[in-house]
Every structure is written in C-alpha cells, then in structure tokens.
C-alpha cells in the first residue's frame, strides 16, 4: 500500500506491506527497511528496526498524524496515494479558496477584530478567544476577504466551532 506523506515542507512516498505478523516492509522514497511493529496500547506501538527499539505514540484525526518519537512530535499528513491521484491536489498542500476558520479549543469570544468584507493578510488576528484564564488570538490561514462572521463577543463556543469564513 502506498501513501504520500508530508512532514514539514518535505513530501515522501511511503510504501508499506505486511510481510509477517506485525512485520512490515516499509520503503520511504525508495529507501527500504523492515519494521517489527507491535501495537502495545490503544495508540502505543513498539517498533524494532535493525535492532533499534522505539516506543511510539500515534494519534490521528483523519489524515493528520501526530507521531511521538523519542519525546519529539512529528506532524505528518498521510494520504493514500490513489486518493491523491483520483482526488487531485488534496491534503496538506497550500490552502486556497474558501476557508472555514474554527476555534481550536472551547472558550469564550472576547473580541472579533474584523468585519465582514474586510481584506485580511495571512496570519492576521481575527478573533480573540478566552480559555483557561488566557486570551488567545485566532489568525487567518490565508490572505483574503472575510465572508461571514458566525460569532460575537460574549459567545461561549465549543472546540471546533466555526468562527468565520475567509475567502
């Protein structure tokens, strides 16, 4: 099975095949190695590769994988290669077009810094959300125009709630 993996700004082709019970032949950009990979918990794996032992945590939401190796986090976007071929340039590539801006954590809206119709820069602050006694700015993912604003100061929002749409 083949995947396209993105890590930072690099893209890799990852081929994987289960050759024995929990033993995998993996190739990353053609560089092949054998992984003895046991699942030892809900998101915990024990990997032995060339006698090197790794304890790994893997969390994912859809195609976004958060992999913890040796105390370091790797954010990987991993997509089935065929899906990339069929669906075109998806997943992890430069964001374009209509973007939903959601709040990353539950909290209270302190201020909305923009109005509908405003032109915003990528990275510009849009909304201030308070959670856990701290104020946090939610930034624009792209340069564009504010299309719709879904919240107002004083609102309490759940994590993942839609704040506004920028296009």
């Amino acid at each position: 099975m083949a995947f396209i993996g993105k890590l930072g700004d690099q893209t890799f082709t990852v081929d994987i095949e289960e050759t024995g019970k929990s033993v995998y032949r993996v190739s990353v950009d053609g560089n092949e190695f054998i992984v003895d990979g046991k699942k030892t918990g809900r998101t915990n794996y024990s990997l032995i590769v060339d006698n090197r032992s790794f304890e790994i945590e893997v969390d994912n939401t859809d195609d976004e994988y958060r992999v913890l190796v040796d105390g370091r986090n790797y954010h990987i976007n991993l997509v089935d290669e065929r899906r990339v071929r069929v669906g075109g340039a998806q997943g992890g590539l430069e964001l374009q077009g209509r973007q939903k801006v959601v709040v990353p954590m539950p909290g209270k809206i302190i201020a909305v810094l923009v109005s509908e119709g405003d032109q915003v820069e990528k990275g510009q602050g849009l909304v201030i959300v308070e959670a856990m006694k701290m104020e946090n700015e939610v930034h624009s993912p792209i340069t564009g125009e504010i299309k719709e604003i879904k919240v107002k100061p004083g609102d309490t929002v759940e994590g993942g709630a839609l704040l506004l749409i920028v296009e």
């Binding site: 994987i16 969390d59 994988y65 992999v67 790797y74 990987i76 899906r83």
Partner: protein, 510 residues
C-alpha cells in the same frame, strides 16, 4: 490535631493536600464545582461537597459556600492551597470569626502583604532591600513623572492591586510616561477597581529568586533556603529549581537571614515566600511576599526533606516548629517542570479537553504531582496547569539529565502539552550553564526554528503508515458491523464514519 480539613481548592494542589491529610490520618473534605464532579481531587478526598456552577466566581471563590460546607461537614480547618481564596484576607477573617482555623497567616498579614505598597514599606523598615521606587501611592500623571525622573529610567509603573503580569507597564524614557500612565491607570480602575499606582526601578535582566520561610505561633522562624524561578513566560513560572544555580554562598546566607527578618517584621505564621529580584551583581531587592504555599514548594521539599503541607497543618494546629535553622540543609538539587495543557507550537494556546491517555514517568529521583487522570476532562474554566514533574539529583546536572529522561517518558494523549517545550529549555546551553534571567524565553524561544529537526523521520513516517493500516482494518470491521440495528448511542459514531468515508472513500478499500 485536626480530625477534618476542608480543602478550598481543586486540581493538583487539592490532591497534594489530601495526600498529606491521609498520611496524617486526617479526613479531607473536597469542594467541587459542577465542572469538577469527576475531577481527581473529588475522587481522592474522603468527603466531597458541590459548591456551585463551573465559573470560579460562582463556586471556588464564594466564601459563604465554603464556610457553609465547613459547618455542615464538621471541618475544623481550611487549607486554601494557592490561587482562589489563598490570599484573600476577608476569607481568612471570616474563618476566624466562624471559629474555623485558616491554614495560613492572620488576615492582617495577608492584607498587608497583598498591598504591594504597604508590603514594600514594611519590608524597607525591617531592613529588607527593596527595589528603588515611589514610597507611597501616586495618583497623578505629574507625580508619576516626577518620581520616574528621580529614580531614572527604565522603570515600571504598576497598579497596587495588579499581579500575575497584569496592571503594569515598562517605561523606558520620559516620552513613554504619558501613555503608560493612561494604560495602567485605566486598567487599574477598570480591571481591579483600585486606581492606586506606584513606580519601581526596572531591574535589567533580573533573576527571580525566592526564599521559603516557616514560622510557628511562638515566634520561631526558619528559612528553607532559596528557589530559582527565572524561567517564566508571560510572567508565569515554567521551571523552578532549588538551590538557585550560581548563587554565591554569601548571598544565599544573606537572603536567608533577611527573609527571616522580613517574616518576623510582619509577625508571620505558617509557610510563606519572600520573592526577590537578583541583578547581575547578585544585589537583591524584595519584590513581594506570598502568604501561602507556592506551586513550586515541591523543589524545596525535596532538597530539605520537609513536607511543607504537613508543616503548615502542624503549625495551624498550634504545633511548635521541630527544627532549628541549623537542622536545615539543602541536599542535592531539585527541578520542577510545570506541565500545562497548551500548545507551544501555536503560541501556547490552552488545550482543554479529554485526556485520552496518560503515562507518567517513573523511577529513581522523580515525583509526579497530578490533578488529572487518564479519562479526565480538563475544564476550560480553570488554570491550564495539569501537573508538575519534579526531579532530584546529587547535583544540578544530574537533576537536569534525569528531567530530560523523565520528560521523554511522559505521554499525554488527547490534549496538547508543553512537554516538548520543556525539553527544549532543558537542552538549551544557556539553561544548562545556569545563565538564566526572567527574559530567557522571550530572548531564546523561536517556535518555528525548532520545528524542522526530524532525527527520526523515516521511523515517524513508518509509524504513521502502520497506524493507518491498523485504522483501516478497524474501519473495515466497523463498516461491516454497521448493518446492525443500532441503539441511539451509536448514531454519532456512524455519522462520523460517514463523514470520514465521504470524499475519497474508494481509496480506503483494498
């Protein structure tokens, strides 16, 4: 000794106090808000009382409710922990009036030390060096300007009632006085309801060093040496240690003596902390006195071998301090990392939510103080600090290496934490060499710069791919099971299955 103590707090400190009670054979009484019914401190305590809705202003801060539970439960004493009502003189007074022992100093002392200007005056009079600044309250722009011209720039304009990084402004030159006065003045009135201001000399790149003191009701006062708390972000401590690295022995001894002097001057009883700023020439200036247990008390406990919460309880129960100053020594070195539910890669945004998985580091020389457990929900209403990790070593280097080892073992799933940020600090050459000041994080931390170090990218990619295979396998099982008559609870799962299967689901079939 008391039979029952009410713990007017939540989170790790409430659990920590309940543990001390259990070791003393005292029953602990937890209070909880509606958001905390399933929190660890409720599970841990012997009794638990609901005191109101989630926001702390309607629960943990409501003095009447706490007093009411004391009476209903038969608690003879209250331990306030830190935060919430810990430095609220009215609460301490109310306890006194109701015949409940407040585990802490008298309301008068809390009141005096809570007023930064008054505290400064008392300490100055007691011979404790203070930061040069205004001697009294400043109420006009003109007064502020005059004082600053006298002291010299840079200086800080502060609201008397401020704290925790709020209600203050750095003034670098005469030009900035007006805008600073307006900003701090209005914040003081609006946020704190107290317009009083004062001015202090701004110490360039100071270190934050503090002295722990213990005093009984019979006039005996001892100090438990120093803590270094310079690693701060937005004026919140992140890492603390004891002893303070590179502190000259002469300075350490003087700090201890002076801290005792200060504590005596206010008639202090209980455990307290005098905070000092230390400049690059090892001059120190009194900053403020915290009339409560500190978050970082654990590093002191480890190097001096005294359980501070038990000491607080014994003192409050009328016990004599069993130690003289000569019994107190610092053995080895202890470091504490505060574990916050926040995302260092996204500007330290808080990350409340459910802790799906939790594996703590273990083994020689470490201590976990947690307020959470696997499966617990970190509520949005309270402080994002979910745990503390303390390591000890024969010396500072061993303590640091052990902390690195321990942080590597620390696994939290479901929410993000600052563990990797701690690792970054602990590997920083400046931190390693003890060259720290309160500006360390601002000066050194560039979140983006660290992102690109991927020593094990092939392993990480392989792991993600293996997890994807497992995930696909489970999904296949799930889809097969979907045909069944499902009870309502399953609907949500089905919906999310549908959602994830929507756009490119063909790709997921082999």
């Amino acid at each position: 000794m008391f039979k029952r103590i009410l713990i007017a707090n939540r989170g790790e400190i409430a659990v920590r106090i309940a543990r001390a009670c259990r070791e003393l054979d005292i029953e602990s009484i937890a209070v909880y808000s509606e958001a905390d019914r399933e929190s660890l401190h409720v599970k841990y305590a012997d009794y638990a009382y609901l005191i109101g809705p989630a926001p702390s202003a309607q629960s943990y801060l409501v003095i009447d409710r706490i007093i009411d539970v004391c009476k209903k439960s038969g608690a003879e004493a209250v331990h306030p922990g830190y935060g919430f009502l810990a430095e609220n003189a009215k609460f301490a007074q109310r306890c006194k009036d109701e015949g409940i022992v407040f585990i802490g100093p008298s309301p008068e002392v809390i009141d005096q030390m809570g007023d930064k200007v008054k505290a400064r005056q008392i300490m100055k009079a007691a011979g404790v060096p203070v930061v040069p600044g205004s001697d009294g309250i400043l109420t006009s722009e003109a007064e502020v300007l005059e004082t600053m011209e006298q002291i010299g720039y840079p200086c800080m304009l502060k609201a008397v009632a401020g704290g925790g990084g709020k209600g203050l402004r750095l003034v670098r030159s005469r030009r900035e006085v007006v805008s600073a006065y307006r900003a701090v003045g209005s914040e003081a009135s609006s946020s704190f309801g107290d317009p009083r201001l004062y001015v202090e000399k701004f110490i360039v790149k100071p270190r934050h060093v503090e002295i722990q003191v213990l005093a009984d009701s019979y006039g005996r006062v001892i100090h438990l040496f120093d803590r270094e708390c310079s690693i701060q972000r937005r004026h919140q401590k992140v890492i603390e240690e004891s002893p303070a690295p590179g502190l000259e022995d002469r300075t350490r001894r003087r700090l201890g003596r002076i801290a005792i002097q200060g504590a005596r001057a206010v008639g202090y009883v209980g455990a307290g902390t005098l905070e000092f700023l230390l400049d690059s020439e090892q001059n120190f200036y009194f900053l403020e006195m915290n009339t409560r247990l500190q978050v970082e008390h654990a590093v002191t406990e480890r190097v001096v071998g005294i359980d501070l919460v038990k000491a607080q309880i014994e003192i409050a129960a009328g016990g004599y301090l069993p130690w003289r100053q000569r019994h107190i020594t610092q053995t080895g070195h202890a470091i504490e990392c505060r574990i916050y539910a926040e995302d260092p890669e996204r500007d330290f945004m808080p990350c409340p939510g459910r802790i799906e998985g939790l594996r703590l580091p273990e083994g020689l020389g470490l201590r976990n103080d947690n307020g959470v457990y696997e499966g617990a929900e970190v509520p949005i209403y309270y402080d994002p600090m979910i745990a503390k990790l303390i390591t000890w070593g024969e010396n500072r280097i061993e303590a640091i290496l052990r902390m690195r080892r321990a942080l590597r073992e620390y696994q939290v799933r479901g929410i993000k934490t600052n563990i990797s940020f701690h690792q970054w600090i602990l590997r920083h050459p400046r931190f390693m060499s003890g060259d720290v000041n309160t500006g360390f994080i601002d000066e050194e931390f560039k979140p983006k710069a660290n992102e690109e170090v991927y020593p094990h990218k092939e392993i990480a990619l392989a792991s993600a791919a293996i997890a994807a295979l497992h995930g696909e396998h489970e999904r296949t099982l799930g889809i097969l099971a979907k045909g069944a008559a499902e009870p309502s609870k399953w609907r949500q799962q089905r919906a999310s299955l549908r959602r994830s299967a929507a756009p490119g689901s063909r790709g997921w079939r082999r």
